[in-house]
């Protein structure tokens, strides 16, 4: 019996060899960067130059940071600056680097019932939606986008949790799922620009408000600290980070376009 079990284990290992061989870099990142095709574009270029394979797990920023705290990452690329700084301060990460940015946009039904397209600021736009009690779909998942959105409501001095379940609906899902729901209910929502541009089920939604400096969306990159996480693959992930921050890596980010539109603006310093 024991003999058979050994053989079985060997056979199973033989069926899935790829996951045993080689030291890959494990990257925890956001759905916005993955769904926009950014990693399918940049990782093959990196692999071509260095031979290093990077595996991406795309979840919300909140979950990505939590997974990294459990040591299930070598490197983290997310977009919630204060959480990233706390992550480093608590010793989980080595150092936080600015990597690239784009911006958030407020989407809504094309006829714009709350007339937010005339707003002068994001706060004014949210106030118009709130005054009309028109539908607004929130991520509600502690992601970077959700945190940004909660901050915007706070700046607009609206106690948004009071309206949850009424005209303000929290999906607890990723950006794509939330966009599907907003498109179906023809409601307002906040999205990062990259996900919106590449999203295919737009229906009647369109960008109604953009360009406020408060809608700035900064992505940061952090190496996981091997002192906290002994299994971390330090060597290869360091090469990856240095490449992303290098002139070459930043130029590669600069060149990524979908339908002729640049999705991310490199700004490593």
């Amino acid at each position: 019996m024991k003999n058979y079990l050994n053989k079985l284990i060997l056979i199973i290992i033989f069926i899935f060899p790829s996951s045993i061989l080689g030291k890959d870099v494990l990257l925890q990142s956001t759905t916005s960067t993955k769904n926009s095709g950014f990693y399918s574009y940049i990782l093959p270029i990196f692999k071509n130059e260095t031979g290093i394979n990077v595996k991406v797990v795309a979840v919300g920023t909140g979950q990505a940071i939590r997974n990294a705290k459990n040591c299930d990452a070598d490197i983290l690329i997310v977009h919630a600056k204060s959480d990233e700084e706390a992550f480093v301060e608590n010793g989980y990460g080595i150092k936080r680097h600015n990597l690239m940015y784009n911006d958030f946009v407020i989407l809504g039904p094309s006829e714009d019932p709350a007339e937010i397209s005339n707003s002068k600021s994001a706060e004014e736009a949210l106030n118009s939606i709130s005054n009309l009690e028109y539908g607004f779909i929130s991520r509600g998942d502690n992601s970077g986008t959700h945190k940004k959105e909660k901050n915007l409501w706070k700046n607009a001095q609206i106690e948004i949790s009071y309206y949850s379940g009424k005209w303000y609906k929290e999906t607890g899902s990723g950006m794509g799922t939330t966009l599907n729901i907003a498109a179906e209910l023809n409601a307002y929502t906040l999205s990062d620009r990259a996900t919106w541009i590449t999203f295919k089920n737009k229906k009647d939604l369109k960008i109604l408000f953009e360009g406020d400096k408060n809608l700035f969306n900064q992505y940061g990159a952090i190496l996981v600290n091997p002192e906290k996480c002994p299994y971390t693959n330090v060597k290869e992930s360091k090469i990856f980070l240095n490449w992303l921050l290098s002139k070459n890596g930043q130029e590669t980010i600069q060149k990524y376009k979908v339908n002729g539109i640049q999705l991310f603006y490199p700004n490593a310093n």
Partner: protein, 235 residues
């Protein structure tokens, strides 16, 4: 309605163009689910026989536990397996998180209760018939186990199908422990979830159609085997 039409067109285009990415994903799905099914059968059927032929205190509670585990939400299984194989978990040293092995482990947890519960029922029926015979001829326990398994082949195929169906159609557990990593842990169901979240509903539905077709083909083959086995038994 046009999304359905588009989905069918997409599904056929993918299949007839022998789309490499599609075949990779389908192949990985099948490999993972078949592996977990085999492992679950090797562990599950002997436990099923054991529960069917022995009597001990706590036996009925154990059977009830396995029965209720059949309804375990996959996402809970995913979470448990994640906590086990996370680098900070007790099995972290194995380094199998975000690999097919973690997915096999999760599917194992999902289908083992099905295999144990359903096979216990079948073997219990058989045991009623064979019990006296085995006692009279003093058949050794090991031999009786193999006899029970080989004499209920046709019913076991149904159990296989139930287990396979649960394993291959499940998304909540494998997306947590597999991470849906391209070329490594991306299977049919996680691809469907991903394409849905990208808003590409026709492609997502097309993949659903393909998954359903594969299930159908496997079921047809299994039913043929069942008919053949029944013919052999009935002469």
């Amino acid at each position: 309605m046009e999304v359905f039409l588009e989905a069918f067109v997409t599904a056929f285009t993918l299949i007839f163009n022998l789309d490499a990415a599609l075949f990779e994903i389908v192949g990985l799905s099948l490999k993972i689910s078949v592996t977990s099914l085999i492992v679950a059968s090797i562990i599950g059927f002997p436990i099923g026989v054991f529960l069917a032929i022995t009597r001990f205190s706590g036996r009925s509670i154990l059977i009830s536990i396995f029965n209720s585990l059949m309804g375990m939400p996959p996402v809970v299984v995913g979470l448990i397996v994640y906590l086990l194989v996370s680098r900070s978990g007790p099995l972290g040293w194995l380094e199998i998180l975000y690999t097919p092995y973690a997915m096999i482990l999760a599917q194992l947890f999902l289908i083992l209760p099905i295999i144990i519960s359903l096979s216990t029922q079948i073997f219990e029926e058989l045991h009623k018939e064979y019990k006296d015979f085995f006692i009279i001829f003093s058949v050794p326990p090991k031999k009786s186990v193999t006899t029970y398994i080989s004499d209920s082949k046709d019913s076991l195929i149904t159990i296989f199908l139930a287990g396979f169906g649960r394993a291959v159609s499940e998304v909540g557990a494998v997306i947590i422990v597999g991470g849906n990593i391209d070329h490594v842990t991306r299977v049919m169901t996680t691809t469907i979830a991903l394409e849905t979240s990208k808003g590409d509903l026709p492609l997502a539905l097309a993949l659903g159609i393909i998954l359903l077709s594969i299930s159908l083909i496997i079921n047809v083959i299994a039913n043929r085997m069942k008919i053949k086995i029944n013919k052999e038994i009935n002469g």
